[in-house]
């Protein structure tokens, strides 16, 4: 009986007209931690939150009394045109704990991201996109200028998809450079593979190399508006996110 429920749920998901693009913790399309040249659909708006394991946060800026901690971010993002994505992200930071170690106050790091795709994917060539995370700083105190821009990086990415028997394989290769030295472990060539099975194309599996870590992940869009993502770094450290998405042009996409 339990199996029947699962099969019924999978059939229900199958018949819903859905689309899956990508989701990162920034609200910009990509894999888990690395960018790609895929784009969300024109008019897509996202509101989401993501759990950030301390294993993947910058080594400076997310410390409390010298120790890193798990945190989360939340974001809004928009694809006003098929070639442009923008997002605005707030990442929570512990501001103060009480004597018992309970978190009393959170503060937040805010940043904007933008991605532009000058070259759309063709039959024989990949899509190419350039972008930037954490575009500029609005630090109020001079000493903050020395360390802020925790997430700033610039990248150029190329993505090509291949189809075989209804399955889709995506290859992404990117060059990424983080502005701060404390993030330099993620600099250089990064890349990943995505796979959508023909029997359930709304589901995507991902494997990526961030320049320092290997991440396996999966995401899925449910009922056209609810997007889920889960991933694991080095088979140990969990990441996860959820977001609501809407197409402001009223478009519905079949994969």
């Amino acid at each position: 009986m339990k199996h029947l429920y699962i099969i019924a749920a999978l059939m229900l998901l199958w018949w819903l007209p859905q689309t899956v693009q990508a989701q990162q913790y920034t609200g910009i399309s990509g894999l888990v931690h690395i960018p790609s040249a895929e784009m969300n659909h024109e008019g897509d708006a996202f509101i989401g939150a993501h759990f950030l394991n301390k294993a993947m946060t910058p080594d400076i800026g997310f410390l409390y009394q010298g120790e890193k901690y798990h945190t989360f971010d939340y974001y809004v993002s928009l694809t006003p045109f098929s070639w442009l994505e923008m997002s605005y992200v707030c990442t929570e930071r512990i501001y103060r704990k009480d004597a018992q170690g309970n978190i009393v106050n959170w503060s937040k790091d805010r940043y904007a991201s933008v991605k532009i795709r000058p070259l759309k994917e063709g039959k024989y060539h990949p899509a190419v996109a350039i972008g930037c995370n954490d575009v500029w700083t609005s630090a109020f105190f001079p000493d903050q200028h020395e360390v802020q821009l925790y997430f700033q990086n610039f990248y150029i990415a190329a993505t090509k998809h291949f189809e075989f028997k209804g399955n889709e394989l995506g290859l992404t290769l990117a060059y990424r450079h983080f502005y701060r030295d404390y993030n330099s472990k993620w600099n250089g060539i990064v890349g990943g593979i995505t796979f959508r099975p023909s029997f359930f194309p709304q589901w995507r599996l991902m494997a990526e190399y961030t320049g320092n870590d290997f991440i396996l992940g999966t995401d899925m869009l449910l009922w056209q508006h609810l997007r889920l993502q889960a991933s694991v770094k080095d088979f140990k450290h969990f990441y996860g996110g959820v977001c609501l998405q809407f197409n402001l042009l009223g478009d519905k996409y079949l994969y």
Binding site: L78, P80, W106, R110, L248
Partner: protein, 302 residues
């Protein structure tokens, strides 16, 4: 000084009167709006995160108002702003008058004008004139000029005679294929600052999202994004008296939380960047050429 202001006030009043009389000539009237009274309410939603002790502070105000469309694009409108959640402090705890004014829209050939007289948002009152001049399908000039004083209802009645000229002038570019609009203006603003603003808007179905940047000589740089959502129901029946939700929810996010730079009042209780200053049935330019947000059916008596 007082005499000087009186002369200026008299001159502006004469200009307004002349424009109203000019507008009264039948050839210049855009006459498609049906007369009626709309009673509505929305929410003025504000939050800020400039305090390390709290995640966010909220200020939510109810904005009940009315619009009496008297025909021929004459309108009498009023609106209050009533705080229901206030974490901003005592300065924001009072009921404010957001609009109580009479206005008239009209056109002289391709020049569209809107004159307003009365109380506006930002606790201002006085005279205001807006002008819009479409040059072609994709470009238009715009300008606004006002002569205003201050008025406060609570905690005690206070009124300061009009003493300040404000105004902006600039242009709009509209790309119909993408329903995208760029707006740029320079101006003198409510706090005597001189500044410049630029905004890029993308109009979607029932929603407009924009990014903007602004600079003023007193308060420096600021920027952010705005969201305007036209609120359902999108099919409405028009009666002599209509009770409805506000036409839109508007939110502006500022990165630097500069409260005073490039500040200008609104004259219409439901003014927003998507609709612009003029009625859809009078000015056919820009987002007014998109599918209308509201399909309004006239209620006819059997």
């Amino acid at each position: 000084m007082y005499r000087h202001n009186s002369i200026r006030l008299g001159f502006i009043a004469a200009v307004f009167l002349a424009l109203f009389l000019r507008a009264g000539q039948p050839k210049a009237i855009g006459q498609t709006s049906s007369p009626g009274i709309d009673i509505f309410s929305g929410l003025d939603f504000n939050f800020k995160d400039m305090d390390f002790e709290t995640q966010y502070k909220f200020l939510i105000r109810l904005t009940p108002g009315f619009k009496w469309n008297m025909g021929n694009h004459w309108q009498f409108a009023g609106q209050l702003q009533i705080p229901i959640v206030n974490q901003y402090g005592i300065d924001y705890s009072f009921v404010e008058l957001r609009a109580f004014n009479v206005s008239k829209e009209f056109n002289i050939k391709s020049l569209y004008l809107k004159a307003s007289l009365g109380a506006f948002s930002q606790n201002r009152y006085g005279l205001d004139l807006k002008a819009f001049l479409p040059v072609c399908d994709w470009f238009a000039f715009e300008g606004q000029a006002g002569y205003v004083g201050s008025v406060f209802l609570f905690p005690y009645w206070e009124i300061v005679a009009p003493n300040r000229f404000v105004g902006t002038i600039g242009g709009d570019i509209y790309l119909p294929r993408w329903n995208t609009q760029f707006r740029g203006v320079v101006g003198k603003y409510l706090y005597d600052d001189i500044g410049v603003e630029g905004e890029a808007m993308r109009h979607f179905n029932h929603t407009t999202i924009s990014v903007y940047a602004r600079w003023s000589n007193k308060f420096s740089f600021d920027g952010g994004f705005k969201v305007v959502i036209m609120l359902p129901p999108y099919r409405r029946t028009h009666r002599a008296v209509n009770i409805r939700p506000a036409s839109n929810f508007r939110m502006a996010y500022t990165v630097m939380y500069r409260q005073l730079n490039n500040r200008m009042y609104f004259t219409d209780p439901e003014q927003n960047e998507r609709d612009g200053w003029f009625s859809r049935d009078l000015l056919h330019w820009g987002s007014h050429n998109m599918e209308p947000d509201f399909i309004i059916k006239e209620k006819t008596k059997k």
